[in-house]
């Protein structure tokens, strides 16, 4: 039993080594795509996020990381969009909401990995199909937390 527990721990550790920056690792190599990653350590170092009307500090402490991928041209936007949609579908992310505002389109996805850990992904495309942004948040934050920001 002791051996089994040690082995299980080793497998879980190896799985978690893959879990960070999952979108940047998968899609960050596309030409024309810029990636930004803010780690949990950096989030903890942020000073009081004291922007007027916003309540960011409490939420940033619940976050494990932020990934932002931005496509800067039409070709990159097309590849990033199709890559993102394919990855989200394969990894069983659920679509929460789609908001169309004029020509701009925004979709929010979510995956609950366990009771205290969720990932939220926002895909945003402009109407001209020249720009596409993927923002991924992970951690123990909830939809209510995100809603309460503004």
């Amino acid at each position: 039993m002791k051996r089994f527990q040690i082995l299980l721990f080793a497998f879980i550790l190896s799985a978690s080594a893959f879990a960070q920056k999952e979108f940047i690792d998968k899609l960050g190599n596309i030409d024309g795509v810029t990636s930004v990653y803010v780690s949990k350590t950096m989030l903890k170092l942020l000073p009081q996020l004291d922007v007027k009307e916003l309540n960011l500090k409490k939420i940033s402490q619940k976050m494990d990381g932020v990934e932002i991928l931005t496509a800067e041209n039409q070709n990159a936007a097309k590849k990033l969009k199709s890559g993102a949609l394919s990855y989200l579908q394969k990894n069983k992310y659920e679509q929460l909401m789609e908001v169309k505002d004029g020509k701009d389109n925004t979709i929010i996805y979510m995956k609950q990995k366990n009771k205290d850990y969720s990932s939220f992904v926002l895909l945003s495309a402009d109407g001209n199909h020249t720009g596409f942004t993927l923002i991924a948040l992970s951690g123990s934050l909830t939809l209510e937390d995100i809603q309460s920001i503004r």
Partner: protein
Amino acid sequence: MKNEQDIRIPEGLNQRLSSLIDELDAQERKRKSIRLRWWSTVSVAACVALAIGIGVHTHSQDKKLIEVNSVEEAQIQTERALMAFSQALNKGLKQIEKADETTVRVNESFQNCIK
């Protein structure tokens, strides 16, 4: 009650029992050896998986990526991300609320018509 001397032991029973015990012992040793080999293989596989995971993670740091080294830049990017999420979510929820209100109004009108 029978006398002990009257109990007859079949011929060759000793040898048969002895060889059965030896056979069972050999089987048990073989099973233990297989189990030990299996655990050894699985533990090596787990270590390899762990090493690969750490290797891939380290290697992935080299990919095209803006590393947020300054706290100011991290703050800007985090605010941008959270604002984008919040605005989209609240926009969507507002529309749902509007639709809900419309549904209630339509329902009330319908009820009034029936009366």
